[in-house]
Amino acid sequence: MYKGFFNTKGYLEVETPLLSSTLIPESNLSIFETEHTHPFKSNKKAYLVPSPEVWLKRFLSKNPINIFEISKCFRNSEQSGRQHNPEFTMVEFYSMDFTHLDTLNLTKELLNYINSNYPDSKLPNKHLEMSMDEAFIKFAGFSLENNISKEQLKIRATELGIFTEESDDWESTFNRIFIDIVEPNLPKDVNLFLTNFPSNIQTLAKQIQDTPWAQRWELYINGIECGNCYTEESNPKLIKNYFLNEGEVKHSVDMDYYKIFETFPECSGGAIGIDRLIMGILGIEEIQGVILFPHHDNI
């Protein structure tokens, strides 16, 4: 179904490795680690990719064309719940000369395509865009524009009766408020595009100039987050800084990765979790309902 959509749009389907000897540093993701053994030399560490991004960006630096990949992704330490499986399927797609807003329109088209080709689809027909700041004003009662410091965020959290830790950084405090009070209240009867994430959350997305926001959105279907999109940062210096500043990671990182951005196209990348999308299409509330052999904590 998704293949059909991207094929009609002229996107090239690619297949990249599930194993990589280095990954992008994303300090909040926990990685599955394995070893590539050699009969006569020392073993080398290898990692199961948490998303195909590390490979797709290498591909794009040499081949600036519209691509998509349907890939297995692996995230360790994600305890099985109604929305989580440590191994899941994702469609990741990159569009040349697109911004995150162009990808937003493309994603709306994809959802409409699913609904028109699959009459039984339970996906909402309506789409809604809401900025993160609008969501905070509406559901947490304050604007992030005026409460941008960590200390002010903590005060707001405390006022809302939300527990915080002394050691919380800005992102943790933001996430506590978001998860506790904003996300549960997001509209569920629409395909919600939550736009303009705070720049304080470090990602490889471009910034919206002269604002505290990043060119990033997430897609929510039935209140469950199932997509993420950036206008891709393409400035090698900024990418290098991201690699230097991202918190501690346990896996190997290629500190020369930024060099691929010396020949990187202006583009936007989107990723949609297919299992969660199917949950939306079928109106199923548990990810176990769409996976043949769901993982259990006691594998």
């Binding site: 993701l29 995230r75 305890q79 719940g81 929305q83 989580h84």
Partner: protein, 189 residues
């Protein structure tokens, strides 16, 4: 009292939040887009019966309460409190009715229950998933009245009203699902 990480909380545990003991009734993991992991908890204040929704980072330290389960006999109620007796020590103690809104319908005088205790406080009375109870009030079923799917309402000894098939009579024993408070079957004495 021991400290555990919020990510290790399981449904059915008792934890301390803001110096109040709570029963964990629901737990769901959430990972905001590539962010750190969180747990969403639904808690029940065992003193007031009030529900609380709370979110924690999986790494937060939480006080888990070491509760003790005791085998106790339910003696009587004075309306305000329910009086129990520990079957081993014969100690009697009172449980305020506010924390037993759901359980009170299944407390039969003289019967024994597993009671969850913590520091002289009762945090919960465990009700078996199914209980056999005597019908104390039943209207005669009206023959031919099948509009309601041939069912009617009866009362059991504790005052609970249950929807039953039309053939159930006063004095009969019926099996009830204590979770849903629904009729399951007639028990032939």
């Amino acid at each position: 009292m021991g400290q555990i990480k919020a990510g290790a909380i399981e449904k059915g545990m008792f934890i301390l939040e803001k110096n109040t003991p709570y029963l964990v009734t629901e737990r769901e993991f959430v990972n905001p887009g590539k962010g750190s992991s969180f747990v969403r908890l639904k808690l029940k204040d065992q003193r007031s019966g009030a529900a609380l929704k709370i979110t924690h980072k999986s790494q937060d330290n939480i006080d888990e309460i070491d509760v003790e389960e005791q085998n106790c006999q339910y003696l009587y109620t004075d309306g305000e409190n329910y009086v129990f007796m520990n079957n081993e020590t014969y100690d009697q103690f009172e449980v305020p009715s506010t924390g037993l809104e759901d359980e009170k319908w299944f407390l039969i005088e003289g019967d024994s229950y597993r009671v969850v205790r913590w520091e002289e406080e009762t945090l919960g009375v465990k009700i078996p998933p199914k209980m056999d109870m005597e019908v104390t009030e039943a209207e005669e079923g009206v023959k031919g009245d099948t509009v309601q799917g041939a069912s009617k309402y009866v009362k059991v000894g504790t005052g609970l009203t249950v929807k039953v098939p039309i053939f159930i009579k006063q004095g009969e024993i019926i099996r009830i699902n204590t979770d849903t408070k629904e009729y399951q079957e007639r028990i032939n004495k």
